[in-house]
């Protein structure tokens, strides 16, 4: 199966570009990332400039998405919000991937007792509702960037670990691994060069889906009051602020939520496209 993937890789890119979903997803992701990266330049107004006389204004020419309870421009805050979401999302995803890959490959490659122990540990994390664990850590220890990213990584690494593990499990008995071992390659070499290289496409696909997931989790935390510090806007924060004005100023809660939805959708589309392109036989597995 893997040799097949090797042989088909050159056309993967072509398959990807022909895959409409993946392209659309990629486009959305790019727009959001650019928005976050270039927020200072793109945002028409300051995200914190208040105008107490201009509170709760509906969308207009001056404020395309209206103003919030402090008279701040919603559009600018939405643009800046992508920065916060992406920052935490990226950090958490990277941590999650690193931990998941490391743990999963060790478990899958060495098997036996190590495998059992690791998988049981993963089960422990999966038996507590994710949000509870995150809530406990973040509420009690403070909602800093590192805290939040770390604990999100803690609850999302297990699925990645599982997938990498099963890949390594199935690959470890292949001929080329035996050959490499016979040639004197150490464990580490076999792991990194052969197994992980083959598991890489799966991991990349997971990354995209994971990013979407972490952004959802982070915005949920913000909604509960455990997110970015004011006046730094986070999408989840904006939605919870807007909830009290739902009847009179619906735009405050609607647009940031829409931003979350579109961003996550983009990452999901992108991930799907990647998966379809990298290996058609993987389609069923994820």
């Amino acid at each position: 199966m893997t040799e097949q993937a090797h042989a088909e890789r050159p056309s993967a890119l072509r398959r990807f570009t022909r895959n409409r979903r993946g392209l659309v997803g990629g486009l959305v992701v790019t727009v959001m990332v650019i928005a976050g990266a270039l927020a200072p330049a793109l945002a028409p107004q300051s995200y914190s400039a208040q105008s107490l006389l201009n509170r709760l204004q509906p969308p207009s020419a001056a404020h395309w998405l209206g103003t919030d309870g402090f008279g701040r421009d919603v559009l600018s805050r939405v643009i800046w919000g992508s920065r916060v979401s992406l920052e935490i999302g990226l950090l958490a995803t990277m941590l999650s991937l690193v931990v998941g890959t490391a743990v999963g490959s060790v478990a899958g490659y060495f098997g036996g007792a190590a495998d059992t122990a690791i998988m049981r540990a993963a089960d422990v994390f999966l038996s507590v509702p994710a949000l509870f664990l995150i809530l406990i850590v973040v509420a009690l220890f403070g909602a800093s960037l590192t805290n939040t990213a770390l604990v999100i990584a803690l609850v999302t690494w297990a699925p990645v670990g599982r997938i990498v593990r099963s890949e390594c499990l199935s690959l470890r008995h292949r001929d080329f691994v035996h050959a490499a071992a016979a040639l004197g390659a150490g464990h580490a070499r076999i792991l990194s060069r052969h197994l992980l290289a083959n598991a890489l496409p799966i991991v990349i696909v997971q990354a995209s889906l994971l990013l979407g997931q972490t952004i959802l989790i982070e915005s949920g935390l913000s909604y509960l009051g455990l997110g970015a510090r004011p006046p730094l806007p986070s999408w989840g924060n904006m939605v919870v602020e807007g909830r009290q004005f739902l009847a009179s100023a619906w735009w405050i809660a609607t647009f940031p939520g829409l931003a979350i939805f579109v961003t996550v959708l983009g990452f999901n589309l992108f991930g799907d496209g990647l998966r379809d392109a990298s290996d058609p036989t993987l389609r069923g597995r994820l």
Partner: protein, 541 residues
Amino acid sequence: MIHAIVLALLVATIGLAPSPGLAAGKDFVIGLSGDATSLNPVIATDGQSYIAEWPLFDSLVELDQGLNVRPLLAESWEVSRDGLTYTFKLKRGVKWHDGKPFTARDVAFTFYSVLDPKVTTPHRAYFDALAGFPELTAKENPKRPEELAVRPIEVIDDHTVRFRLRYPSGSFLAVLVNPRAGIVPEHLLKGVDLNTAEFNRKPIGTGPFRLVEWRRGERLVMEANAQYHGGRPALDHLILRIIPDSVVLLQELRAGGVDFVESPPLTEVARLKQTANLKVLAADNTSYTYFGWRQDLAPFTDLRVRRALYHAIDVPSIVREVLQGYAAVSTGQFPPSSWAFDPSVKPYAYDPNRAKALLAEAGFKPGPDGVLVKDGKRFSFSVRHDQANQSVKDTAVIIQEYLKRVGVEVQLEPLDWPTFVKKLFASEFEGIVVGWTNHHDPDPFAYTIWHSSQWKGRNFAHYKNPRVDEALEAARRTGVTAERKKHYAELSKLLMEDAPYVFLYFPQQVYVTRSGYEGFVPIPTFAGIYQSLKSVRWTGK
């Protein structure tokens, strides 16, 4: 598995207890944003418990709208010439909710319990003036009342009780009101550990209402006390529904699920006023909100810096826009409704240019990013506040913006209440925005906040000013109101000169209730309108 689900669904559908039969108009439903923790006036200290205790317990005296003391359980009283002895004659024929008679022994028991160091209660400090206070409340080897030469509380006969003070305190009478001084029954609590008594969940008081049911986290149901010494209340039932979500609370109000809500989000008040069957009540209060900082940290040690911060913030605009006008601009420790208030003290006007000039004088120069710099240090500090208090949150965000305009950078740190209070009292902060409810008598809070001996207490900002100390001590030593007023006027002047805080505003108490209920009398302090629940009635209009 399916069976379990079906069973659970059935249980869920049927299991909820039905609410008591509601008679429209004869019952009054109050929406509370949180549950009470315990219904025992001696130990309860949170706002919701106070609200629930008001209909259930009486105190010796109560306040009227002018904050003057008037009789309640005490019919009359005499004060000795030297101001050290108070003799109360109690009302006759008062009964507890369980039918037993109320006597002076209950009064003595209640206050000895407050003084008992084994009982966890912060109310103790308010009775500092009682004779033998230091001995009774000592941490090591506290004395028992029988061991004292001069007993602070003495039962003369069934209807007479005498208090002895160790110094003439002008605020003593004012302390004998709810919520801190509700009287509890000796016959039910003698020999019981008050901290964990079953009584705290099944209280018996002498108040206008008696508790019928308390479903934790859901509701408290009270019914009228037909034997109430002040006459049976007009309402049949008082129901306190617990709805923690403020948005939902308002929805319930509009839909008819509750009849009364306190402190609605002020941005909604205009809309609520226009709603046909609702009306808005507002009255002055002794709560206050301020923007403060550690007095012993640079650069706040520089008077010019403190005054600059005051000039930088447009308080009247905050009162108008954030609080919709439901607040009074503050000029110090005392609200306009207090007799200690001195109208001649004026706050620093909003003047950002003056602020910038003062900061420049103090040696600050604009840095490369717009934030002021002095001796290589940027003028940037953290401001902590309670994340659950909407007005405080909004105010903090606005202050951050105003300070930014004069080159001062503020990092906001909203904290959850447990962490915030802990850091506050440990003096672990740089700047804070805090809202407290003041006591209606000037002494308790003024002393504990500004006196330099209280650094481990409410003076967590570490303020120290010998002239202020003098004024506070002098005010404490005399029982004559006119004298105290002079000293407090001096205090207000000194504080404004020194500008230790930006005194922001005194928020009013605001309520929304269903039209048709009349008889609310707002008292400008803790009592709010809850003291008048015994006289609220339904007129059906």
